[in-house]
Symmetry: C2
Subunit: 256 residues, 2 copies
């Protein structure tokens, strides 16, 4: 349904309800509000697409006019649906692959907004409309209570059973290893082959350099990187790339 059809419906409601000049005034105001809403919705949906396709880069915060849109997207059925479809596509690929028995068929996962959801944190911190606050975010990470993204847990479990080696490659720091392991286990993840953090020597590297560098090392160790899953294009791009890359949705923040 296009927003304009919604607008027509809204007008129809207004006309049906119109019984006095006052009512007409009120419904006109409602229609104007609906029109602005529809216009912003159209813009924000296009903005979100530009984020998800990597056309928009280096953005610091969600545009102010899209704050309600992103909140509704993240809290409603759309984020869950979008994540479900990513996982369905991932599983379709996984099932098409012949796994060797040498323990070298790897699937790489990012952690934040890919396996774990920080929505409980962002829900009380503006859903991406505020500039990233490292101090308060690290306090949230230290609690180790980020829930699993349900669809990702479904994917993870099937990959494990299928014999994929699961490698977690996160932009979190080595100093956060203990709480991260605790959080992953608490959320239901287990049996990963390795969990790779940023070391001191990686500080200051763009994420895409850090992550593609680690993929090169993994290939050097004999792994065949069949797939990567991440909510940022910097999880996926750079040389070497996985055979297939799966972009999970995230309109709340950008990491270059």
């Amino acid at each position: 349904m296009g927003p304009f059809r919604f607008l027509l419906l809204f007008f129809f409601l207004g006309v049906v309800a119109a019984e006095s000049p006052q009512t007409i005034l009120r419904t006109t105001t409602q229609a104007v509000a609906a029109s602005a809403f529809a216009y912003d919705h159209l813009y924000c949906d296009s903005w979100r697409l530009s984020v998800e396709t990597n056309n928009a880069r280096f953005w610091r915060t969600v545009p102010f006019r899209c704050s309600e849109f992103v909140q509704e997207y993240m809290s409603g059925a759309r984020y869950a649906s979008d994540t479900d479809i990513v996982v369905d596509e991932s599983l379709a690929f996984a099932r098409s692959v012949q796994i060797a028995n040498d323990g070298n068929d790897a699937w790489i996962f990012d952690v934040d907004e890919t396996l774990l959801s920080n929505v409980p944190y962002y829900a009380i911190n503006g859903f991406g409309t505020k500039v990233f606050n490292e101090t308060s975010f690290n306090e949230w990470v230290d609690k180790a209570r980020a829930p699993a993204l349900a669809a990702s847990l479904r994917l993870y479990e099937e990959l494990l059973v299928s014999g994929f080696q699961i490698i977690l490659l996160t932009g979190r720091n080595e100093a956060q290893r203990k709480v991260t392991v605790e959080n992953l286990l608490h959320a239901g993840y287990h049996s990963w082959r390795s969990l790779i953090f940023r070391e001191d020597s990686d500080m200051g590297k763009p994420a895409v350099v850090f992550k593609s560098g680690r993929r090169a090392e993994l290939e050097g160790q004999g792994f065949r990187i069949l797939a990567s899953s991440g909510d940022q294009w910097s999880d996926l791009l750079g040389f070497p790339m996985a055979q297939r890359s799966f972009k999970h949705p995230n309109p709340m923040y950008y990491i270059g």
Copy 2:
């Protein structure tokens, strides 16, 4: 606006209109129809995202349940809005670039669904729900009457004025050069530096191999490929990549 809010509105309309058991029955049917519509809309919006992010690959036709969705998307305000935002992001990048005066700063464009719109053809051929028919599509191409995508023409004109060398790289065949030039000129495009088609020796190559191979040749000729614009990921991926890639929307067909 989430589809469920639309559903609530629909119920409200039903309740207001309910005056007899027959009316109630009819409005219940409407509500069920609205529910199926909302469910399909949610699914199809997620499917479209998976297409635009390159998570879904090698699909042959638009899913049957999404035929109305794609028709509405392509015909309504959303396709135009999405294309507008891609162009806004492209121009923001173009304006940030310092152009050298050596005539080597290149911007590569794909043609179909990037500069020219084949919507008039697809509108009478199922909007991607039918398997691609090369014969009828080539008849359409021979007419040389595909209109410009308005936003792309706006981008193209500003790039020319800014001193970019514009290179058109299309999957069309060399045999279609004459009608393609005629169509591009008719649609308002002009002054490209070169227009590259598939030669006989490129037949059978996947698009991504053909196009990245041509980019390598262009770099060999001294071009700096600052950006690529295309509606297919096979226009953009592969080595070498442009400094920035801009994915234009296209939920109607897939080229690998």
